[in-house]
Symmetry: C2
Subunit: 584 residues, 2 copies
């Protein structure tokens, strides 16, 4: 054993105890005749003390030469500190060192190992092993472990069985791109890495496993946006003999347990909202309901006046910004610039000040009188002192734009409090969504989601109107989980695949095994999957997932620390029956 | 909810309760005026009862038409059975059905869903979802979950942190073949799937995580032998600031906990044996010590007589087979044929009967008298009634042959009891092993294993003699875990890689990031990895791992259920900058 205690363990009660510690040199304060060294490990920091009188001269000199991040082992006696540090748990004591061993040297690290480091993102990623020594990253990884453990223990206690499904599976053309793995033994053939264990968990239900879960890596070869990773972790769950209500209750239980156990927050029964209402009230299928600012649709009160911008719009919709009347004209102009940015894409913004004296002042006073504007205030719920922001245009677009504005303003107003948790179920998602690029319908969730009872017939006539037995769990404006009740009979699955554009042969080739399974007594079943990376980040009060992943990849899918991906040998390629076919 | 209770839940105490059950039809016993249906789910089997008097005629007829594996939902009243079945937990009751719904039909399954099925391996694998409904498979998967949970809870309580390491990493030429994953975004480059998270867990130690574990999938593209899978699961562990003794104690603790919690078996402190002694006494680095039959080396007592076979051998070695003198001449001849099979490869076998009257009768009486044979008995520990089996030849080969014979005989004698657990640490493995094919030394464990203190110099002169800080945990003749204290300084790692035949450039390209990390304060560290599939099978008292894996692959690495691997689209290949290069 290299140590008798950790660097976070010693207290005043240990005074006069002889101890051995091991860890990294956080810093050396050399006062000439005495030296303070802070030694750090996963558990904390302890002050080491060397002085000319009580320590040998040799030892003092050794201590003076210690560099940052040297790995040392020391033995000495715990003593009370002359000046205590109330900011750290070991702040009452120090160790008067009698023996010092340097276990390993260190070059000067490329950035400081401190809570606020001077290392930029690139350096931090290249030297991730040093970054992990920093408290914020270290704590995030430990936090992630605690969340995963809490999930596993909760679900195990609820009789769920964690079953490992395979990673080397079969490529499917539906959805995002697969990562593939050439097979050496099966010439010209490829495995695919799973985008999710979807079909396997359904087969486990057919197999009678009843309650399944798995915390599992999934893979998507997509062009990466910020804060997306090619490999990500899912809490994947499925249950048999259940209806939607059972799934909602079970996983509301899990989420409530996590909020309590991890964050110490008690949450009442989660509110539920229909997808259509979420879109109408928040312009968004994952609304942040920690604050109000619900949409007010103004068509009835703002159209049929002489303002053509509104008259020609499919939707005129506004929100009341609490206290927004305090904004100067300049600030409002900046807000208008903000909504006109290409990322948001509005053509303009109409606003209306709600003055303290009960009068209104809008940017379109030419067309609307005080009575008109009072109706705007009524519909948007604006009170004296607020600002009403109004956008107009094509329904889906204008909702997305106003949703972006709502989130931006809430952020600026400090309404998105990281320690407040507002979960929400969004129900009755559409079964299909229209894809502009391919000009056809895609499964909004996936091809195994069941339509609402009685809506199967609508598929032929009004496919866009068909609602699914699909639900999302939203937390603070993020989708943390999504799932559905699945199709469990072969006929419905065949109809669904046909509507998604699969020929009978394609359906057979891709999903034959699942359709076969449905013929041997498939029970009704459904499930949900949580994105663990995102869930952990939100529970941890953070916006980005990256520090909750030990070794993340950058936006080009590269691991810059190990320098992967990388070319492989010609020999290896030949063995895999492959040749490069480079474009450049 | 499709049910009020599970099919394994009802007892006499539920009599007269109205219940709803859902599950699969296990069987229908039609007595004409009454029908018994067994309904099954994950939790058990419940008898349903329909009769002409108490049930409607309609319902009775429906029940009569139920097929095996139909999915049904029934409502009815619990009542005492006329004739109880003490073999199942629900055997005291039955449900008098008042309502029956068929949730799904089933074709006649290709094999029976019973403990002993009539399905051969191929059918079972193709319809694995049906196979999983069978008790032995279902129970094995649940057992696996319990073991994994016990591991996680134990290690978490011991302050270990589960950290997820990446699956898309970099190919390394050392060891077994990697599965690779072409990168679309990084033209001509490939990720590799990890054979183990070895370097990442070492980097976590450099990063100060101190105590790491992970239950994680690993991948090896090897020609598959029986009972090997291209993807397998490891319990991967690493600790910083530890010596070998600390690792042994920690993971002996884990293993003891599992034996207690899972098997209810208390095991004393695990015995330890040196690798050299294991080879000498058992001819094997993973000896099964549930029984004796230790090797006795007979060179001193059997050479220098007139028997040239022995005289010319490097090693003459025997075992005493308890009670083996009962074998007939014919049985012994069969044993000799057995050791001469190509899989074992001995040229012949000498034997010596130990008669009850204290005399000996050997197959080489021409060369050895009673005194000589008495010495054989003394060295091998043979007693009256035993049979001494002696092999001779080149040391390594003859040890392997006698080890095979020892295991075979123990199996036949019933000495390998599945419910007896005999763990054993094997210590001080050689650092390197000679590879006949490539005519060079390979790392026996992996290139990051540290040599025993002071033996680094031997690497230049007697590489085969260098011992490593490496250890295996053996359970009942299977290696269930293996690990080592790692190299943690750049110089030693460089020397090691050089001796393994890496040029400086190759070492830099492959392991540069690790060697860099060693320069920034790497702590002493070491670890171990357990093969979860094998561990679970052994704790479950089974010889093969396959039923402890939900969806295993066959010996060609195929998943015959989903029919993977499979060809992919030309378009997908082009996008990955690849072309097929088929040999056939």
């Amino acid at each position: 054993m290299y140590r008798s205690h950790t660097c976070g363990e010693l207290r005043a009660a240990h005074n006069n105890t002889e101890v051995t510690l091991a860890g990294w040199v956080q810093g050396v304060r050399d006062k000439g005749f005495m030296v303070y060294v802070d030694v750090r490990d996963r558990y904390g920091i302890t002050q080491l003390y060397f002085d000319e009188e009580q320590t040998s001269k040799d030892l003092l000199e050794q201590a003076q030469k210690l560099g940052r991040e040297f790995v040392i082992q020391v033995t000495g006696k715990v003593q009370e500190r002359a000046s205590k540090n109330p900011n750290i748990p070991t702040g009452d004591i120090e160790v008067l060192v009698s023996d010092l061993t340097i276990l390993n040297n260190s070059l000067v690290p490329p950035f400081t190992i401190e809570d606020s480091t001077d290392g930029g993102d690139d350096l931090r990623m290249k030297y991730r092993y040093l970054d992990i020594r920093r408290n914020p990253v270290k704590k995030s990884l430990i936090f992630r472990h605690k969340v995963a453990q809490a999930v596993r223990n909760y679900l195990s206690n609820e009789d769920f069985i964690e079953v490992e499904t395979p990673y080397l599976i079969k490529s499917t053309p539906e959805g995002a791109r697969d990562f593939v793995v050439p097979s050496r033994m099966n010439e010209g053939q490829f495995y695919a890495l799973p985008q999710s264990p979807q079909t396997f968990k359904q087969l486990l239900m057919v197999g009678g496993m009843d309650k399944y879960f798995q915390i599992v890596k999934c893979f998507r070869d997509e062009d990466l946006r910020a804060d997306r990773q090619p490999e990500f972790t899912q809490i994947d769950c499925e249950m048999a003999f259940v209806e939607q209500e059972d799934i909602l209750n079970t996983f509301e239980g899990l989420t409530r347990h996590l909020l309590k156990e991890i964050n110490g927050v008690e949450v009442e029964k989660f509110p539920r909202i229909l997808y259509d209402d979420a879109m109408r009230l928040y312009g968004n299928d994952k609304p942040d309901i920690r604050f109000g600012m619900e949409f007010g649709e103004l068509n009835a009160v703002a159209q049929h006046k002489d303002f053509n911008v509104f008259n020609s719009a499919k939707l005129v919709v506004g929100i009341a910004v609490p206290g927004g009347n305090a904004y100067t004209r300049k600030e409002i102009d900046k807000l208008i610039d903000w909504v006109k940015r290409p990322q948001v894409g509005a053509l303009g913004m109409v606003y209306c000040r709600c003055n303290d004296d009960g009068t209104y002042k809008s940017s379109v006073d030419k067309f609307y009188d005080q009575d008109d504007l009072a109706k705007w205030a009524e519909v948007t719920g604006a009170k004296a002192g607020d600002l009403i922001c109004v956008l107009s245009g094509e329904t889906n677009k204008v909702r997305a734009q106003l949703s972006a504005l709502r989130m931006e303003l809430a952020e600026r107003l400090g309404l998105r409090k990281p320690n407040e948790f507002a979960p929400l179920w969004v129900l009755d998602f559409p079964l299909l969504e229209w894809d502009e690029d391919t000009e056809r319908y895609h499964a909004m969730h996936h091809p195994f989601t069941s339509p609402k009872p009685g809506q199967l017939e609508l598929l032929g006539t009004n496919p866009g109107d068909v609602k699914a037995n699909a639900y999302d769990l939203v937390l603070n404006g993020n989708e943390i989980g999504g799932g559905s009740i699945r199709i469990h009979d072969k006929e419905t699955q065949a109809i669904m695949l046909k509507h998604l554009g699969f020929s009978e042969e394609e359906a057979r080739a891709q999903f034959g095994f699942l359709m076969d399974a449905f013929e041997y007594g498939a029970p009704p079943h459904g499930g949900i999957a949580f994105g663990l990376d995102r869930l952990v980040a939100i529970l941890g009060g953070q916006e980005t997932i990256r520090d909750f992943i030990a070794f993340p990849k950058n936006n080009s899918g590269r691991d810059v620390m190990i320098d992967a991906p990388a070319p492989i040998d010609e020999e290896q390629l030949t063995e895999l029956n492959l040749k490069l076919n480079l474009k450049s």
